[in-house]
Symmetry: C2
Subunit: 314 residues, 2 copies
């Protein structure tokens, strides 16, 4: 890392947990050229970018919310890989004249997610930039075999760990300055990486999982193509939460369309054996069966409303 740019990042990470083998996997932390971690037997690595006006807006989100969301979104890929988070690294692109308070707020947001997870902040860089940007890199340790989107098997049930469309509806509320839907706005601003679900799904031998970041339509297509199967989806079976139903009524937006197209959910989309579904549902509240995995038959994904498309960023 560039020492010339280290003073700020050092400042930002001054609040790292005290040395402790459990909560501080970085044996040699920021300040040296690189971070040395304790042994990782099955390293899982992911990276994500959050850029102003593409992934977040300061008019909509506080610095704390921008920071916490960026970490949740990045760690969600580890949850979808059934991996426990070990350490996070962050490069901050900072426009000239950005007040320290904003950077502090972003850091507070990062720390609020990392600390309860026992995930270390290993370091990073700061660099002046035209726009505020966060580039995050996370390393985790796989619980065991890593699930893959190409593992969906004919005869399995397609499920999701929570409601779809809420985050998209929340984003709509922000875009259209629509008040009174705090639950939906919260779903957009405060996604949660589903490590709780990952542990249970792993325990039950789930081998095909991914997080819903592009929206069901897009992500189901990725899964079906990778697995060479047809996913026969039936959204009609999905319950509508009252805030979501109210939002549809108020905006005239089509519920199924929104559920199919809305991204940024960060719920886990997975397939499991029919006979495991009850056990999974009994341990993991909110799991919703969406349809069936079938041997490939002409289309990769069936049963989605016409015109459902992949989520595009704001």
């Amino acid at each position: 890392m560039t020492r010339g740019e280290f003073s700020l990042i050092n400042h930002l990470i001054k609040r790292r947990p005290k040395p402790d083998s459990l909560f501080r996997p970085c044996l040699v932390g920021p300040g040296d050229d690189a971070a040395l971690l304790s042994s990782v037997s099955r390293p899982v690595i992911t990276t994500d970018t959050q850029r102003e006006n593409v992934h977040f807006r300061r008019a909509w989100q506080t610095p704390f919310e921008i920071g916490s969301r960026a970490v949740q979104v990045t760690l969600s890929d580890l949850a979808a890989s059934f991996a426990k988070p070990v350490a996070l690294f962050i490069n901050l692109g900072i426009p000239q004249g950005t007040p320290d308070l904003i950077l502090e707020g972003i850091y507070e947001g990062l720390a609020s997610v990392l600390e309860p997870l026992g995930c270390d902040l290993g370091g990073g860089n700061t660099c002046r930039s035209e726009e505020l940007s966060l580039d995050l890199f996370a390393i985790g340790e796989a619980m065991g075999e890593m699930p893959q989107r190409g593992n969906a098997q004919d005869g399995e049930v397609l499920c999701v760990t929570g409601p779809l469309g809420h985050a998209r509806a929340g984003l709509y509320c922000l875009q259209h300055r629509l008040d009174g839907f705090s639950e939906l706005i919260h779903a957009f601003k405060r996604p949660v990486a589903r490590f709780d679900a990952a542990e249970i799904l792993f325990k039950h031998g789930v081998r095909c999982a991914m997080d819903v970041s592009d929206g069901l339509a897009g992500d189901a297509m990725h899964m079906a193509k990778a697995s060479g199967v047809t996913l026969d989806v039936n959204l009609a079976s999905l319950p509508l939460s009252s805030p979501f139903a109210d939002w549809c009524a108020k905006t005239g937006e089509e519920a199924l369309q929104t559920m199919a197209s809305g991204g940024e959910e960060y719920q886990l989309l997975f397939t499991c054996l029919e006979e495991h579904l009850d056990a999974i549902q009994s341990e993991l509240f909110g799991v919703i069966p969406l349809g069936k995995v079938k041997s490939f038959d002409r289309e990769y994904v069936k049963g989605l409303p016409l015109g459902s498309s992949s989520y595009e960023h704001m």
Copy 2:
């Protein structure tokens, strides 16, 4: 990683080495939510940012040079940590309307460095951006104990693995459109992560090392402060290469000043026991003793020309 942004990165990494336990540590590569690596017993992680007009300029560097330099600069932190590179991840920030040819060129540059090192390209993201930016994240495996800048011991010799000031002089030539110094310009455009030196220094039990990215003045200060010692430097002993001497004569720039302040060298600055120096020099061509490590005496770094300052980016 965001699937919505995956098509380009997948395109860019189509040329990854074929599956092979030796040259492809990523067991599950790009395309899934995260990359699964084979076990890393002593993971060393670093991250770097390269932004247009801060770290590189398209007017001066080809896309190939921008890509290869970004990787060398990032991996240099692993070399300075005596770690072998395992996998690299890259987030590309791409201004709208950037021709694919430029991205292909950058990728060719990345691959030209990674492939000979057997370092895998694990994946990454692409995102539209105001400026062309590369955020790189590298994981390596430490050869053994990781050297730290805080380990310099009273009585040791301070050394560098190669000439200082060449890269700075090369940058000057680019900034002032000064022709005829291709060697110096090459030193700026084509730094090399010194894994060759790392192996030899590790073998000889060197415990204090860092790469010279901020320039000797800045980096010696980091080392001295971290070690709580005084570094007594004597640059007069440094040989002047003929291109560098010619450059000084032509520009009127002060040689010692340039050697002390010039950054972006990516040589390794290290300390070793006096009695090991001969053996190290016999195995590693170009090692230059710069001075002595002494118990702290009022100043952290002595013997540098007045006004030597840390390197600032272009």
